[in-house]
Symmetry: C2
Subunit: 315 residues, 2 copies
């Protein structure tokens, strides 16, 4: 069985971006701000607040500036936003932000479908972004690192190659994304271990989806390979346009619950997450995929009936 | 990372018993027979067909004899039924069956709530059942082996103790059940390894629920500890009366998918399972919790649009 690392496992919230961008309805700016202010106080180490994509492309996040202007900052929490291009960087530089997250797919087909440019063109943009970042950190996400919805399997050596190119253009940290929830634990372990071993100096995040029920199993395999940063989404919101009906990102509270009760160090307040997920469910008017909030934690017990107490001789 | 064992992992279907007993509606006998006949042909190694509990207690399985009289047997598949007591054994002896499954909880409180007798009284019954079994095999299930909904944690040494008592009264194989879906991977590994090491001669099944999203992670931890037999439920049906709204047993097709694509030997036909789960969903008129059937397998790809093909220069 795996050893439990002594380091704290850092949980990074992406639901307000990856979840709300595909929520199917606009969440009011005031609601976003309230949710983000609460998330900031739960012990999460990073929050992807929003995305500086074109409001025409993603109208559900058209209020990026208004949200970032209003939220309260909690010291120690890294506030990040996704940017698709140099125009996004300009918007990011005009607000109070710690980090921008740039994304490209390892699969050229997916990059073309998602961003309408080749992987090489994406990298050229990221070079320009890194040059003009000011004081912003740049996180580079490699999407479809474990599989592509169009071409299927992805060569792990290609992922390592792109990770090195990312470093060459100047990114500060790296995210490996299982964009369509296709990874399996041994695959996660193999690729993460190879990249951790090859690039020991860079902080690596694993971004997982629970599309096929393997979200938490994959997170544990990633930790076993040396990963200490995990993305997750409150309530398990999010999804993938190529897998209709499937669940979304690995659920923050389910992941935190699994880590805490399986003996890992994870300094996130579970009860606070349940409270936020409940509010989010009310806002979205839809049951969220997260399971632990429905079932209660591992410690949940149920009162015995009077009849049972009597049979057991308990007064 | 864990080694993959060379042995085949055996999948045992419990949905027709553990799932349908709490389905909230009676599934017609003809539908049960049709589902079971199809399940028999998928490569599953054992099928828990029904339960010989009192029809008053579990009316949804009141047709146990009719189902067992009608289903076709596939050579190599073990046909099992749950029996709660000696009366259940009498009914089981009157039909064509390979195995009876007896159940008691490690937790006295849960045993009293579920079976209205003490653990010691349950064991006395099992002794009588083993004596009068005829040619039937007897599988002994230890429920609440990883936690009890009333008293919480369960001492692993108690589970080992009860496993030995089971062997003393003559059971042939053992099931460790995470009845309320409260187990975590290290807990699963620890207890399974202790029992596999202490009782190497006995076949052990792990019976898991996905109540808190850990079903597959726990299954993999069990395999790592030497477990080669896993219960699962088609579509993920089932549940727990003490965790309303929570998902049920670990889903057969999600588990088989995880094993096959993570490199384990598991000779079950995934497409056939999808087909059966689809029929079951139609019969129950409710979406089932299984995820892979909605998302497609790891190998699923989606056609590129004409626009994307054009951009990629693909004719």
């Amino acid at each position: 069985m795996r050893d439990v690392p002594s380091e704290v496992i850092r949980i990074q919230e992406v639901g307000m971006r990856d979840g709300l961008q595909s929520a199917g309805q606009f969440v009011e700016t005031a609601d976003k701000i309230q949710l983000l202010n609460q998330l900031s106080k739960t012990g999460l180490s990073k929050i992807e607040v929003t995305s500086f994509v074109s409001p025409k492309a993603v109208p559900l996040l058209a209020d990026a500036e208004a949200v970032l202007d209003a939220i309260e900052r909690v010291p120690g929490v890294i506030y990040s936003a996704l940017i698709p291009n140099i125009r996004g960087l300009e918007r990011a530089l005009a607000v109070d932000l710690d980090e921008v997250n740039v994304v490209m797919s390892v699969s050229n087909a997916h990059n073309m479908a998602n961003l309408r440019m080749t992987c090489d063109d994406s990298l050229d943009q990221f070079r320009e972004i890194c040059t003009n970042r000011g004081s912003l950190s740049v996180n580079g996400t490699l999407a479809t690192a474990f599989g592509c919805p169009f071409v299927g399997s992805v060569d792990p050596s290609m992922v390592l190659e792109w990770a090195k190119r990312y470093l060459d253009v100047g990114i500060d940290s790296l995210t490996l994304a299982d964009t369509v929830g296709t990874a399996t634990p041994h695959q996660i372990f193999g690729l993460c271990k190879a990249i951790v071993d090859e690039l020991p100096e860079i902080e690596i995040t694993l971004h997982l989806h629970n599309t096929r029920g393997l979200g938490i199993a994959n997170a544990l395999a990633g930790i076993d390979a040396g990963i200490r940063h995990l993305d997750a989404s409150i309530g398990g919101i999010g999804g993938c346009p190529y897998a209709p009906g499937a669940t979304g990102n690995v659920c923050t509270e389910d992941l935190v619950h699994a880590l805490i009760f399986d003996g890992y160090r994870c300094d996130v307040h579970l009860d606070a997450l349940f409270e936020i997920a409940l509010q989010l469910e009310g806002i979205l008017c839809n049951p969220l995929p997260g399971l632990v909030r429905q079932a209660g934690t591992k410690l949940t017990t149920h009162p015995m009936s009077d009849d049972l107490r009597c049979r057991l001789g308990i007064p």
